[in-house]
């Protein structure tokens, strides 16, 4: 038995592709005349980062150029990814300082807890995203590398806010 198929009668204006094609072409033409750009011409142009951007770390230094870190051990403790290796030591003057301070940026989840917990304001997240390297080992940042970074650091809170201190 043959099946009867009901064929809907639709107005031509609704089913024709011509109108939709013209509409699309009109949009393209509009963008040609009035350019609304999304693409950034990297690397000539750089992205404007939020002040709270959390990128690869930076260790701040004191006036004499040594790291501010006193090896208190809070950042390796708070780190949820367990990516900070810290071995405390003692310098000639008897001050506590990090003998080894290494951050494995591959393991890091960029949560910013290390910056938040640091009592000396030494370790900071960086406002920085260009981290390409030629080998994997270079992603373990040692103390020398962390202090040598010059990019701006992340502001996890607004210093101008009354509770920012």
């Amino acid at each position: 038995m043959a099946i009867t198929v009901k064929v809907m009668e639709r107005p031509l204006g609704e089913v024709s592709y011509v109108r939709a094609t013209l509409k699309g072409l009109a949009l393209t033409l509009k963008h040609l005349v009035d350019p609304h750009r999304v693409t950034i011409q990297y690397p000539e142009e750089k992205w404007d980062l939020s002040p709270r951007w959390r990128g690869t770390h930076r260790m701040l230094t004191t006036e004499d150029g040594s790291a501010k870190c006193v090896a208190c051990g809070l950042c390796p403790t708070v780190c949820p990814a367990n990516c900070i290796k810290l071995v405390p030591g003692e310098d000639e003057a008897g001050n506590r300082y990090p003998l080894v301070f290494e951050i494995d940026e591959f393991r890091c989840i960029f949560c910013g807890y290390c910056q938040e917990v640091c009592p000396e304001e030494a370790i900071h997240m960086g406002r920085h995203y260009e981290n390409a390297e030629f080998n994997r080992a270079r992603f373990v940042y040692d103390l020398e590398r962390l202090t040598a970074q010059t990019h701006p650091v992340s502001e996890l809170w607004d210093p101008a806010h009354p509770r920012g201190e």
Binding site: V70, C72, G73, L74, P88, E90, G94, R96, E120
Partner: protein, 524 residues
């Protein structure tokens, strides 16, 4: 502790819990029995009460003002509130005043994480400080010995002063100056080099007295802690081995009223580095074509069995071995009709005057009594004297240091069961064993108290616990040793066959120790 020794019992209520304690107990101690910890700094159960910190203030109903619970004895029908608003407010004030001159250098401070000032401030102190004036500053002072005094952090609880004066009975510390200039002072011509002086570091509730040995080595929260027994002498002080990444970094006393109370001598607490020594025997070895070659455990055990067949075993055991290992060695000696001897290093005795029967003993090994009870003969001068021609010499954790080794040539073979190789002799077989930090077992101290120690770290390479290796060896020699591959089952067998140890088991010993037959609890 709170035994009714014929005295009157007093009933009172602490934080809504009814407690009954002997007359004369302080409220603080009574609260402990009710499971309530009253915050305190100057009070320590081992020291005379000073009542200077005012941290233990509690509210006692119907009393006109708050009472220092460390210095107030209980009264019949008292109702004590530890966490009432009034008591909390008072302690908050005490903490605020203590923190006025405290440098708050917790990131730099060694005891951070195990500091009572940190704990109680976190628990009930103010979140911020109202003090904006410059803080007092005093330089760090070297007290000699292992002790460094960081003056700024001191809260003047005087626990250290009272320990040196009343327990060590060598009053070299005092509170010097007055008011806000007060610090702990040391007698100018004295040092904290007394044999038990480093206990002031453990007594210090804050980071004012720190150990030079442990300074900046690790954070308190990174450490794994294991209950153990000090191997420094035959006193058998209870201790805690603190390890980080499989390395022992510190040794602290563990309180046991029957042995060491709260203390550990300096010689004991600083003698832990050998537990981490890297030059260990890690693989069983047998002599093939005059070369020591690494082999499997099974082959090494067979080799020993073969060499011992029909020969007398002359065992020189170390009194640093556990009761379990010595018991298995005794069985091996008995099986082969041999002889077991030991020797023990000695040194001058150093008592802690304020505590009854606590001393750094002359015998500098933990299990001298155990070795004697298990029938090993002591011969300090020449342990090889009884060695006969053709005997198999078994060196169990004994290095024969400082001895004339020519007598060892009489042996048909030398078996080394130890943590390291032995200089100056050519062993036929080497069986690597774990050291005290790497295995479980028991020691018998000089008063006959059998005490357990637990495993704190892993043994290197293929080294096995001494009782495990010796149980295998005993089996290879035909000693009936069913079910002897756990220290607890070995100890059960030991208790069954040795009259002195009758009735003891790992369950009854616990971590406080159990006495062998004939020993009296009152000795301590």
């Amino acid at each position: 502790m709170m035994k009714d020794e014929g005295g009157k019992m007093v009933n009172l209520t602490i934080e809504g819990r009814a407690v009954s304690v002997p007359e004369g107990t302080t409220i603080l101690e009574a609260a402990k029995t009710a499971g309530v910890l009253v915050p305190h700094y100057c009070y320590h159960p081992g020291l005379p009460v000073a009542g200077v910190c005012r941290m233990c203030l509690v509210e006692v109903e119907k009393a006109p003002k708050l009472a220092p619970s460390c210095a107030t004895t209980v009264g019949e029908g008292q109702v004590v509130h530890v966490y009432s608003e009034k008591a909390l407010e008072a302690r908050k004030g005490v903490l605020e005043l203590l923190l006025i001159n405290h440098p708050l250098d917790c990131p730099l401070c060694d005891p951070a994480g195990e500091c009572e000032l940190q704990d109680y401030t976190f628990q009930e102190g103010r979140a911020d400080s109202r003090y904006h004036e410059p803080k007092r500053f005093n330089p760090v002072e070297d007290f000699g010995g292992d002790v460094l005094y960081v003056t700024n952090r001191c809260i003047l609880c005087t626990r250290c002063v009272r320990f040196m004066e009343d327990v060590h009975e060598d009053a070299v510390l005092c509170v010097s100056e007055r008011g806000d200039r007060a610090t702990i002072g040391k007698a100018p011509d004295a040092d904290l080099t007394q044999p038990w002086a480093a206990n002031v570091i453990d007594l210090c509730p804050v980071g004012a007295l720190v150990s030079k040995d442990f300074l900046n080595k690790a954070r308190a929260w990174e450490l794994d802690r294991t209950a153990s027994v000090c191997t420094g002498c035959s006193q058998g002080c209870n201790n805690v081995l603190e390890t980080r990444d499989n390395v022992v970094v510190r040794m602290k006393p563990r309180s046991n009223e029957d042995v060491n109370h709260f203390y550990l001598c300096d010689a004991g607490r600083l003698d832990y580095r050998w537990m981490n020594r890297p030059d260990r025997a890690e693989v069983p070895k047998i002599r093939l074509h005059d070369v020591l070659s690494p082999v499997d455990w099974d082959i090494a055990i067979q080799e020993v069995g073969g060499r011992m067949k029909g020969k007398r075993a002359y065992v020189v055991a170390s009194p640093r071995l556990s009761n379990e290992a010595l018991f298995l060695l005794k069985r091996i000696v008995k099986q082969t009709g041999g002889e077991g001897v030991f020797r023990c290093a000695t040194g001058p005795e150093a008592p802690l005057p304020g505590v009854k029967d606590l001393s750094l003993r002359a015998d500098r090994a933990p299990n001298v009594r155990g070795a004697e009870l298990l029938g090993f003969k002591r011969n300090d001068a020449d342990p090889l004297a009884g060695l006969k021609d053709g005997d198999v010499l078994v060196l169990a954790d004994e290095s024969l240091g400082g001895l004339d080794l020519s007598a060892a040539k009489k042996a048909s073979a030398i078996i080394v069961i130890g943590t390291t190789l032995v200089d100056g002799i050519t062993p036929a077989v080497v069986l690597p064993i774990a050291n005290v930090a790497e295995e479980e077992g028991t020691f018998t101290n000089l008063r006959g108290r059998v005490q357990r120690f637990l495993q704190a770290k892993t043994a290197p390479g293929l080294a096995r616990p001494s009782w495990y290796a010796l149980a295998d060896l005993a089996t290879a020699l035909g000693v009936p040793s069913d079910d002897m591959h756990l220290p607890s089952t070995i100890f059960t067998a030991l208790a069954k066959s040795e009259p002195a140890f009758t009735g003891l088991s790992y369950d009854t010993i616990g971590l406080r120790g159990g006495l062998v037959a004939g020993a009296t609890a009152g000795a301590h």
